[in-house]
């Protein structure tokens, strides 16, 4: 139990750092989708299924989609 949770939290941190590192905005958006998915699992671990469902639908689904649509219209690389 403890290992699962610490692993998930470590993954969360890693993906946040990966978002900070990458200069490719499209991959930043995709990593952020992964981040949201891990977050949804963490919510599930914390016995918050409502939020887990919403996070999976919103964070991993809609928000990432909106990011990708915007990146597609404005240019892919950070200067």
């Amino acid at each position: 139990m403890l290992t699962v949770r610490s692993l998930l939290l470590a993954l969360l941190l890693l993906s946040a750092l990966a978002v900070a590192r990458t200069r490719d905005l499209l991959s930043a958006a995709v990593i952020f989708a992964g981040y949201s998915l891990i977050m949804a699992t963490v919510w599930q671990q914390l016995r918050a299924p409502d939020i887990a469902l919403a996070e999976a639908a919103i964070g991993a689904g809609i928000t990432s989609l909106l990011f990708i649509v915007t990146v597609a219209r404005t240019g892919r690389y950070e200067k």
């Binding site: 409502d50 469902l53 639908a57 689904g61 809609i62 989609l65």
Partner: protein
């Protein structure tokens, strides 16, 4: 955006997405989820439709005017249900006290007002998220 694989897969998947979204909306008072999460899933189906079949297809399915109507109507429905409680002499958003039947716990038609509220929210959220996507994707 003229990909046969995408179109076929979308045609198979979209009904499942919509049914799941409706399930989450309608079972909001029984299981995890509710109007908001379910509405987003419903909108996900619409967005996939737009991605596979193009914007005009979505526009004919869900015209701007209808989306605006659903957006306002969903919340007006919510407020109206709340006002029922107020008019029956209880408080705003009162449930059983305002005379809504609570039904048998665990059944689909139970929980009184909550079921109806979720329905309004689900429709509103589905319309709003689709509109958001459309506005962002809009060609100039």
């Amino acid at each position: 955006m003229d990909d046969l694989v995408l179109k076929v897969v979308a045609r198979v998947i979209i009904p499942f997405i919509q049914v799941y979204g409706l399930y989450v909306v309608l079972h909001g008072h029984l299981s995890p989820g509710g109007g908001f999460a379910g509405g987003v899933i419903l909108a996900g189906g619409f967005i996939l439709y737009a991605l596979a079949y193009g914007r005009p297809a979505l526009d004919s399915l869900l015209p701007d005017r209808l989306a605006a109507l659903l957006e306002s109507g969903g919340v007006l429905w919510y407020t109206g249900l709340g006002l029922v409680g107020l008019l029956t002499g209880s408080a705003f958003l009162a449930n059983a006290r305002a005379g809504f039947p609570l039904g048998v716990p665990g059944r689909l038609f139970s929980g009184g007002i909550v079921f109806l509220l979720n329905l309004g929210i689900g429709l509103k959220v589905a319309a709003t998220i689709s509109t958001l996507f459309r506005n962002l994707q809009e060609e100039e």
